[in-house]
């Protein structure tokens, strides 16, 4: 279904209305982002191509590819972009849409980001708890592979076994996150 109904929201508009995607229409396809990208060899489609695909309305292909999730947010693209598109932020916008709509790109990173986001609700991050939850529920083999790494940290007390002490701000954090969710469910309206 590639026909566009007049007045309906196209994919590029959707990305542009997502925080971080505002400048997508400024892109001149010069490819500096792809050339600068630290991890481009792991991307299914390089960043320049992702932008072209978004504009061409290839919604499903973009959202189900692992590309945006391989972004390590190093900002080389962002500081070099001659048009100020902020490709790193743009990839976050794509990731946000993919996560919200339940796409399943072939990468463990989506679930990692989900665990990370959920771990914010406590106020402060507890690395061990976050890692255990991520590995046990989503990716047990990856967890087994990283046991020596965790051991090196645990042995030196660098990964506390108990969560950090509760902060008074926790209630505020919960209230903020609840309100953010509310705003997002209403499509940005307050």
């Amino acid at each position: 279904m590639s026909t566009t109904i007049r007045g309906a929201k196209t994919f590029v508009d959707e990305v542009a209305s997502e925080p971080g995607g505002e400048k997508i229409n400024e892109c001149i396809q010069c490819g500096v982002c792809s050339g600068s990208c630290t991890t481009v060899e792991w991307w299914e489609f390089p960043p320049r191509k992702i932008i072209a695909m978004i504009r061409a309305g290839k919604r499903k292909e973009v959202l189900s590819s692992n590309s945006a999730f391989n972004c390590v947010t190093c900002y080389l693209c962002t500081v070099r972009c001659p048009r100020g598109v902020k490709p790193a932020q743009l990839m976050h916008a794509v990731e946000a849409i993919a996560e919200r709509e339940g796409y399943r790109p072939k990468t463990p990173t989506l679930k990692l980001f989900r665990s990370l986001r959920n771990s914010m609700n406590r106020g402060r991050i507890w690395e061990l708890g976050m890692a255990l939850r991520f590995y046990f529920f989503d990716n047990i083999w990856l967890g087994v592979r990283n046991v020596p790494l965790a051991w090196a940290l645990l042995r030196r007390g660098l990964m506390p076994l108990t969560p950090p002490k509760k902060v008074n701000g926790e209630k505020q954090v919960v209230a903020i996150m609840k309100k953010v969710e509310e705003i997002q469910r209403a499509g940005g309206k307050i």
Binding site: C74, F113, R117, R124, G169, V180
Partner: protein, 292 residues
């Protein structure tokens, strides 16, 4: 005595314990008072990739509290630094998101006016304290030590204040300690720390490039940025990566503040070197034994 509001970030209490110890010790020597931000919470960086609004709201919560004191907010962790400054920038530049964030903060009874000044600790060391003052505090000059400074991404990208392609500020501090700096092109390359949990192979390849570059250019020790994520990623992973000769990397890795502490004549324990995984004590032996 210079006073700042200090935002340590979550990782400083776990993987960054050694760095935190050294920051406390070094700041005492340099006459800097860091007042920990009361009731701080996560900077929002973990949620940034899939929920920008939540990340900005989390960051501005901390800024709203910090704003009242009227002091510069100093952040050692590059990720927290970038995220707090990024949230501040979005808050100022994008009225649409600003309104949403303000509504979210209001739900928690907070208000951010947009007046916080967020700064990196390296920036404070070099610009507020100054290289000559640091030099005057040196008791054990790190002569003949070839130090490769590793900056990581977010210390200078995308907001600076250092150059984002080829940062130099850490090198200037290292020079003032009497050490030799090593030129190597990948000093601001990403180490992949954000995805250490999920994409282990990718992260190790990125680390290989950095470590190989340092070895190739004759670095004896890496002085890493104060970010506990970059530091731990380099420290814990390098023993699992093989270099060109097929041997495992054994590059000693210290945080910049730890190196400063050693040059100031502090003991390895006072700068938290016992928490480092890489063979740092051996590399710094000749400097730590001078005063003992």
């Amino acid at each position: 005595m210079k006073r700042y509001t200090y935002y340590p970030g979550c990782a400083m209490a776990s993987t960054g314990q050694g760095i935190q110890t050294s920051i406390d010790a070094v700041c005492k020597v340099l006459d800097i008072e860091l007042l920990e931000l009361e009731d701080w919470t996560c900077c929002g960086c973990p949620g940034e990739s899939i929920n920008e609004l939540a990340a900005v709201a989390m960051a501005t919560r901390n800024l709203a509290i910090a704003e009242g004191a009227g002091l510069d907010v100093v952040v050692p962790c590059s990720c927290c630094y970038r995220n707090l400054l990024g949230a501040h920038t979005i808050f100022i530049e994008q009225p649409r998101i600003r309104k949403q964030v303000e509504a979210a903060l209001k739900a928690a009874g907070l208000e951010y006016k947009g007046t916080a000044r967020i700064r990196n600790l390296v920036d404070v060391f070099l610009m507020d304290v100054g290289a000559d003052v640091i030099h005057s505090k040196v008791k054990v000059p790190l002569n003949r030590l070839k130090v490769a400074s590793y900056y990581g991404c977010h210390e200078s990208r995308p907001f600076g204040p250092d150059d984002f392609e080829f940062p130099q500020w850490q090198d200037k501090i290292v020079e003032s300690l009497g050490a030799e700096t090593v030129f190597y092109p990948l000093k601001a390359q990403c180490c992949g720390g954000a995805q250490l949990f999920s994409q282990t192979d990718m992260v190790r390849k990125l680390l290989y490039k950095i470590l190989d570059d340092v070895e190739k250019h004759g670095g004896q020790i890496i002085s890493s940025t104060l970010c506990p994520l970059c530091f731990t990623n380099l420290d814990v992973n390098q023993g699992r990566i093989r270099n060109r000769e097929g041997k495992r990397f054994e590059m000693p890795i210290v945080a910049l503040s730890q190196l400063m502490g050693i040059a100031f004549g502090l003991t390895p324990k006072e700068v938290g070197l016992n928490k480092n995984i890489s063979p740092v004590l051996k590399a710094l032996e000749s400097y730590t034994k001078v005063l003992a």
